[in-house]
Amino acid sequence: MDTTAFLQNVSNGFLIGGVYALIGIGLTLVFGVMRTINFAHGDFTVLGMYGAVAFNSAIGWDPYAALIVAVPAAFIGGVLIERFVLSRLVEAPPETTLLATLGLSLIIGNCLLLIWGPEPESVNVPYAATTLAVGSVRVSVVLLAAGLMTLAAITALWLFLSRTETGRAVKATASNRLGAELVGIDTRRIHSLVFGLGTSLAVIAGVALIPLLFANPTNLGPIFTLKAFVVTVLGGLGNVWAAIAGGLILGIVEVLGTAYLASEYRDAYGLIVFLAILLLRPEGLFGRTTKRA
């Protein structure tokens, strides 16, 4: 085996994994606190991509600058969706919220299709193909930026969850909703806040990805959602640091499988690992041992 190529593949796997972690982290948070499977998560990421495209074509700024507008907008959007749709379904059976978010996913994707049309949109930035040389390995600048954003987002989230009063209330709600209510936490507010954070994180991932990829209204959302699920299941429920590990594992498995097994089964490698973890270690690789029901 060619060592340089192998190192190159491993480093790419890590960087792609960082992007997967960024997509997955929002879902992990929502999943952990609200026990909601958000099928529209990937579509929020796609919304972030279109936001960056619109920002870039309207004002001509760097697509990353779209974060200034997109993140607060996504937060408000997420809070509204939680208030008007999901909060009404708290008492319903668990698959009901899944169906509601599936509906949201179809609505978002098809509305984007109506507005933008089916052609893929992308932003052409001069640094799209720039690399840094680390020894014999090339590191994509855009992927590196996405990885740094993942680190920043997860650190900020961790600080928020462990150092602030509201963050601790979020954690309390996650571990025991009834208990949290008994000690005076407004869990409805917490749910809105968490869903807003989740959509914001999804949108950040979209903005981070647009210089690298392309936005497409209906096809891309479910792909991202599926990746986010795999990351969440790999890492374990509601553990934000484990999402990084989940993302990295998925990235490495996919890249090595594609390079050394068969390229056409790329997405299957992640799904097989996903099924295996789900069946053999349902609490996730790094989760605490709790029965999932």
């Binding site: 698959e95 599926l226 068969a262």
Partner: protein, 318 residues
Amino acid sequence: MSRVWIIFAGLAVLGLVYPFAMPGMLSVAVTVLLFAGWATAWDIAGGWCGQVSLGHAAFVGLGAYVVALGQVELGVPPWFGLPVAAALAAGLAWCWGRLTFSLAGPYFTLSTIAVAEILRMVAINEDWLTGGAIGVFISTLPEPFGIDLFSREAQYWMALAFALGTIALVAILSERRFGYRMRAVREDENSAMAAGIDPTATKLHAFMLSGALTAVGGGIYGIFLSYLEPHVMFYLFLSVQIALTSIIGGRGTVFGPAAGAVLLVGAGEIFRTTFAQANLLIYGILILIVVLFFPRGLVAELIRGVARRRYAQSTQGE
């Protein structure tokens, strides 16, 4: 005769008369009937037994490919191909269920997507088995008793038999012990177990029946299209459409899924010509409306409303 069978007889008469009343609109009718059958079959596992699957396109694809490849590669006529497809689908459902039924609720749903997607990739990439991405053409079919199976009339009768057969089976099961077992498992697996019901066996049987019936519809769908491509047959959105048709119509009811098929395929036809771009938007909007305002399903809830009003009127009259 109970109310269910009166409605069923009405539907059967409607189905028998339709091709004479609207001979030019048979293709739409075949689509409606296939979706009615699929949604009803999906409902056995998804509605009656509470196992929401978003992977049923795998059964559609399996059925279509078994019938098509049997005919094209081995010269096996569809009337042998369809039962073989059903048996294979039941086998697939058994393996699939064994593997994933330990997962509860949403986790099971996620795993169905994963399994169906892996099967889709197998169908695309293993061209020695499936003809691969280029697809399979059915160019000749046998003619039993001089019936041209390529004709829309013949396909209409096949689809009608499939839809009515599936609905009848569900109507029968709903009144049998198996129907009660399924509902008990859906409501609470632990209490079901306490009542002496084996939840895993019940779920397995429901899933196998659901998969086998879906595959029969898939086989008819393959003949209807006469061209099979993995991207079409194993399409993730086909799974979503089947599930949503049933849920929007009314989960766990005998006629809800079929009514959902009439509603959604009909709406799809209207949307397709008037609202060109976003044909799945209607599914999204309807599913939100159903989830928020009609949790039992649109059609089931409407029927309930009518029945209530009737009841109110009849009691007033007394």
